[in-house]
Each structure stands twice: as C-alpha cells, then as structure tokens.
Assembly symmetry: C2
Amino acid sequence: SRLEDTIKKTVSDNPVVVYSKTWCSYSSEVKSLFKKLRVDPLVFELDEMGPQGPQLQKVLERITGQSTVPNVFIGGKHIGGCSDTLKLYRNGELEPLLSEANTK
Amino acid sequence: SRLEDTIKKTVSDNPVVVYSKTWCSYSSEVKSLFKKLRVDPLVFELDEMGPQGPQLQKVLERITGQSTVPNVFIGGKHIGGCSDTLKLYRNGELEPLLSEANTK
Ligand SMILES: N[C@@H](CCC(=O)N[C@@H](CS)C(=O)NCC(=O)O)C(=O)O
Ligand SMILES: N[C@@H](CCC(=O)N[C@@H](CS)C(=O)NCC(=O)O)C(=O)O
Ligand code: FES
C-alpha cells in the first residue's frame, strides 16, 4: 500500500525514526533518551496528524507486528518500543547501533 | 460541584483509588505495583467512561493540581502519578501508607 511504502522509505532514509504520541510518557522517555545521546530522531506525533495518525499506527502494526507507541527504528531496522530501547541502552548495544546508522 | 463531591467521597471511602487509562503504560505500572503489593485499588479507566472521563480528569486537576494519569490517592490523600508512587515505594514509604489506609 502507499502508506506502507511511505513508512519503508522514511525509515530507510532517516537514521533514527520514532512514531510517538505527545501525551505519552513512554514516548517522552524514548525521545529524552535520544536527546541525552545527542541524537536527533525524526519524530511523528501520531496524535497530531488527524486521521492519518491511526492509519499510520495500523500500517506500522502490519509491518512490525507492534501496535503500540513509541515505535522506534534505527538504521532502517525495527527496534521496538520504550522497554526494548531502554534495554538495548542498558546493555550497551544502543550506542553502537546509533553510530552505525549515523555513518551510513 | 457535584463531580468534585463525588471524587472527594470516593477517595475518602476507599483506601486506594487510581484514575487511569487502559492504553497507558504508566497507568499499567501503577496498577501492577499495587497488584504485586496485594492491594486491590478502586480503578477508574477514564478512557472507558464516555464524556465523563475528560470531565473527571478536569475536576481532578482542579482538586489536585495534577492534569495527568495515573492519579493516585491513598487513605484519602493525593499521592501523585506513576513516578511519585514508585519513588515512595523505593523509599520504603509506600507500604506504611498502605497499611495505615487499609486499617482505617
Ligand atoms: N512495552 C511497550 C509498551 C507499549 C504500550 O503499551 N504503549 C501504549 C502507550 S504507553 C500504547 O501504544 N497504547 C495504545 C495506543 O496508545 O494506541 C513499550 O515499552 O513501548
Ligand atoms: N510524571 C508523571 C507523568 C504523567 C503523564 O505525563 N501522564 C500522561 C500519560 S503517560 C498524561 O496524562 N497525558 C495526558 C492525558 O493522557 O490526558 C507520572 O509519573 O505519572
Ligand atoms: S500513555 Fe501513559 S505511558 Fe504511554
């Protein structure tokens, strides 16, 4: 579908992409983590995109199997949600992924 | 107002009250914590109460100064949100508050 192609292009063209909601603390935690790591993700606030928000969330679920926010991609790869991202960070695996994605 | 009186009565009549949203992970964390502590809170899922949900959230803000969920009361006292509750738990202050409220 066209929306699916848009998402695939977005995540391959941008090193870090976060699908988020402005009111959601888990989404805020992920955005703060990237800010702390001095990474500037491309963020889509699904609650501020009118009817396109829920549509994107549906298509993301189709592509990634994940229906929730935040939904995080690094280097075109689906990372997961807030807990997944924090886990990688605590294991020291996040920063290597980020450097790899940024130098592409 | 009538809604304000309802809330005040609810939190004084019930040892633990949580105003929550079903889709919210911070709300889930607070509910899980109480479950782990074998406490059975009275939970209001503001997203499942039709137009009353947003109204309750507004009145809670007027009463407590807190506009967000989860909104937690123990022994009739306003505790705060997820971070506040977790902080009290980690400081060992939550369980005394809970015992005190449950034996009223
Ligand atoms: N374990 C997941 C939890 C994700 C989750 O439950 N997200 C909630 C918001 S905190 C959600 O997307 N709820 C449904 C919605 O907002 O559409 C994570 O760490 O990201
Ligand atoms: N630090 C607060 C954060 C509370 C917060 O930002 N809650 C969000 C949901 S996670 C909220 O209520 N957003 C507005 C809304 O859902 O109406 C806590 O620990 O509870
Ligand atoms: S909506 Fe509360 S943590 Fe996501």
